[in-house]
């Protein structure tokens, strides 16, 4: 154990790490936005009375949740071209992450939808709103407030999952860290700095979500 820490090589490439971090955050942001849309549609499928909607939605959630995300990432990048779907690295990764997020968020939203009291829907009907208006202006806002904590933790875990994009050479934080590793051989320092960047960003995201929750909390 005669290793002496020397961070200077890592500091010289620090802007690369920051660029990687920015890309990681961008990937996570895109994935959570698209994932929310997919999850919302799937959640309405999961709580629907029609088996024709419920079964496929359930199948999607079960299959995606029980498959390792690395397999999904590799599948969509290397195997989809065989089906004629050609996507760039970043597009294919965002798509995969969104589909992955959608399955987790569908379960989150389903719980949130079931927690909205039926009286809210009845009240909407009583003042003459259509089914679509009730959903968009009453049920979805109430549901979102209910699920805000889970939404926050999903965002954080998606941010961490962006590290898997390194496996298909998307230049996000983990990929840049590996590159700096190979170029400078300052292995210990690079991983210390990279993990600290991840931890700091996760704490920041968590604090941000808590602030949003406080602002949107139901007044009592």
């Amino acid at each position: 154990m005669t290793y002496t820490l020397n961070f200077s090589a890592v500091w010289r490439s620090f802007d690369l790490l920051l660029q990687g971090l920015a890309l990681s955050l961008g990937l996570a942001a895109l994935a959570i936005l698209a994932g929310c849309a997919i999850g919302l549609i799937t959640a309405f499928g999961l709580v629907s009375k029609s088996t024709l909607l419920r079964k496929p939605a359930g199948l999607y959630v079960t299959v995606i949740r029980n498959t390792p995300i690395l397999v999904l990432v590799l599948f969509s990048y290397f195997a989809l071209p065989e089906l004629g779907v050609r996507l760039g690295k970043i597009e294919s990764f965002v798509l995969t992450l969104a589909i992955y997020a959608g399955a987790y968020l569908a379960e989150v939203f389903r719980g949130g939808l079931l927690a909205v009291p039926p009286g809210q829907r009845e009240a909407g009907l009583a003042i003459g709103l259509t089914e679509l208006q009730i959903r968009t202006s009453i049920i979805i806002p109430l549901m979102l407030r209910n699920v805000l904590p889970s939404l926050g933790s999903t965002l954080i875990s998606l941010f961490k999952d962006t590290s898997l994009a390194a496996a298909i050479a998307v230049p996000e934080l983990t990929f840049e860290a590996r590159k700096i590793n190979v170029e400078t051989f300052r292995v210990v320092e690079t991983w210390i700095v990279a993990s600290c960047l991840y931890v700091a960003t996760c704490s920041l995201l968590a604090a941000l979500m808590r602030a949003v929750e406080r602002r949107l909390a139901v007044p009592r």
Partner: protein, 219 residues
């Protein structure tokens, strides 16, 4: 897809089975080591003296804020740099066990804290010592609380085992990639690997639901 896939699958059966075996041993080992570690983490978080609590809180927060892939890469490259020579398999297990311990630690803490204070007070009132209180009153109730979530963690570990392919452990995913580089049947073989993982994890998920039903407090 034609029959040549089945032929290739038959040709590749031995490496794929070996890979599956390695994946299962990675998952099993990291769950066992991670759970033992995690129980200590959970106990320290709940009953530890203040400085110990801060230390362990820092550990769990750091591990939970770092992606598993980073843990795996760091464990493999850092340990060998500072002179601890572990193979990729051992380094990978270490990383996954550490990851698992932070999750188990939090769910043990959550389970212990959810037990009403009255239970401890009742145990004190009938003269039980703390170890006795833990063994007869708190432990069993915490176990019932934590078991379903623990089964979920187990499924999580099976999925995380795929990450060891990146540091060159010949588990199922790496074996699959090797077969693909020989046969160029990426669609079929990734699908097959995904299917195997699905079957394992779905089995664990069903088992988790069963455990949840069995351990639910009768109402």
């Amino acid at each position: 897809m034609d029959f040549s896939f089945l032929d290739q699958l038959w040709v590749a059966r031995i490496p794929l089975l070996k890979g599956l075996g390695v994946s299962l041993s990675i998952s099993l080992l990291s769950i066992v080591v991670g759970t033992v570690l995690g129980v200590f983490v959970g106990l320290a978080l709940t009953y530890g003296v203040r400085p110990l609590q801060w230390l362990v809180r820092g550990y769990t927060d750091f591990i939970r804020g770092t992606p598993v892939l980073v843990l795996v890469l760091a464990s493999y490259y850092v340990l060998s740099t500072v002179g601890i020579d572990l193979g990729p398999f051992q380094a990978g297990i270490l990383a996954l066990a550490v990851f698992c311990s932070s999750h188990v630690g939090e769910l043990v803490r959550g389970a212990l804290q959810s037990i009403p204070k009255g239970q401890t007070e009742a145990a004190k009132a009938i003269g039980l010592t703390f170890p006795q209180t833990f063994a007869y009153v708190l432990g069993p109730q915490a176990l019932r609380q934590a078991l379903p979530a623990w089964v979920n963690t187990a499924a999580e570990m099976v999925k995380a085992s795929t990450l060891l392919s990146i540091i060159g452990v010949a588990e199922l995913l790496l074996r699959t990639q090797e077969v693909i580089s020989r046969t160029f049947m990426s669609l079929e073989f990734y699908f097959f690997a995904g299917f195997l993982y699905f079957v394992i994890n779905y089995g664990i998920e069903r088992f988790g639901r069963y455990v949840e039903r069995k351990t639910a407090v009768p109402s």
